[in-house]
Symmetry: C2
Subunit: 239 residues, 2 copies
């Protein structure tokens, strides 16, 4: 007379178990940057040998968490869908929200806290500062758990060369918020968030740090973010 539980619980368990292995979590974490990586690079990130990594990648791909693309003798793996990144962030939120455990800051973490990519958009102090400024300027309205782009906001973004399809329909949300795990406040995701990241990279306002999700703000970036969004160094200072 044992249980007959809700069927979907097993589906959750399957996915969670997949993420629950340290090597696989490292792989997924590395891919949260949004760029596709080769099996070799992921092997390095995973911290295990090549055969083991290959097995993990096969499982993740089989489960639909990763997508793979062959290119020459390399195989490029990437997250199969943004919802995967979202789930990872949710788990990260649980991990940091838990009991007041010691969370070692570390030097590399400081870089991550300052500015990093979160799948395909900006996070960290830079990400939250952008969200704050856009909100202050009434270009987006950040509500509880979500965000809307105002007409002013559309005009402003068009001025930056960023245009978007109309809201609604089945395509990707124009703008949504994403809880920043280091700042504990929202930053902007969705099409808008992705466009801001792309735009910042194209203008060389930020540069990716190799082997990390962290990004550095260039001199041009300091000027650019200040000029366009009014972001001051104080916004980006730790604490």
């Amino acid at each position: 007379m044992t249980a007959r539980p809700i069927a979907s619980a097993n589906a959750i368990a399957t996915i969670a178990a997949l993420i629950g292995d340290p090597a696989r979590a490292n792989i997924l974490s590395a891919l949260m940057g949004g760029q596709a990586l080769t099996a070799g690079e992921l092997c390095w990130h995973a911290g295990v040998g090549a055969p083991t990594t290959s097995g993990h990648l096969a499982k993740l791909t089989e489960a639909g968490l990763l997508a793979v693309e062959r290119q020459g003798r390399h195989r490029y793996y990437r997250l199969a869908s943004p919802v995967i990144a979202q789930a990872m962030e949710s788990l990260m939120a649980v991990a940091t929200a838990g009991p007041p455990r010691h969370r070692p800051p570390g030097p590399k973490d400081e870089a991550l806290r300052a500015a990093r990519t979160c799948y395909d958009h900006l996070a960290g102090r830079l990400g939250t500062a952008l969200a704050d400024r856009l909100s202050d300027l009434r270009l987006v309205i950040i509500g509880d758990g979500g965000a809307l782009v105002t007409d002013d906001g559309r005009d402003f973004l068009a001025g930056l060369g960023l245009t978007f399809p109309e809201a609604g329909g089945n395509h990707r949300p124009l703008c949504r918020t994403c809880l920043d795990w280091s700042e504990r406040r929202p930053h902007l995701a969705g099409q808008l968030g992705a466009a801001l990241l792309t735009c910042s990279l194209e203008r060389s306002w930020i540069a990716r740090m190799p082997g990390s999700r962290a990004v550095t703000i260039t001199d041009a970036g300091s000027k650019g973010f200040a000029m366009v969004f009014g972001i001051t160094p104080e916004h980006l200072a730790p604490k």
Copy 2:
């Protein structure tokens, strides 16, 4: 020369591994209903023996996923925080979004699809219908990934006897959206979502089905939802 990965990946793995066990996933799923359950009830949901369940509960509590409260000779367990439920929903979204796997509907699933609780708010066709109607009536504005309550909405809710603190600050979001895994469209969560569920239960518009997250709509509920929100039987019909 093995890896030096991002520290937080291990934190994710720990949490995910915890959720990744079928018995524990069942326990967490059962608690998604928002009410606290005794170890014995959870034992039934978990589908394993009492000693095993006790071990799982200890692990989950130790990790900060569950909170426990002793009451007489019973111990009531509940999710330690809403972010846990959010993470579970994210994982569910990944599970259903994945490859077009067969997902067996089943009779009990139909009840879940019709109306169920999602942690502390309503989901399923009833949940999405409520969200739709509130949106149609311009009481809330459902944007991409988020929701805002309008002034009209506040007045309307006040008329139902529901009042909320001002937005902003550190307290819980007034209203946010939550992706409905069965309808693939948003329903309303946050304080507003919780209040709607409580209100519906108090008025006996809905009744919990024992041992399940599903709820049934009472006769009074059919009238009430139609009268107050304009929800018709068509809104609640399958497909």
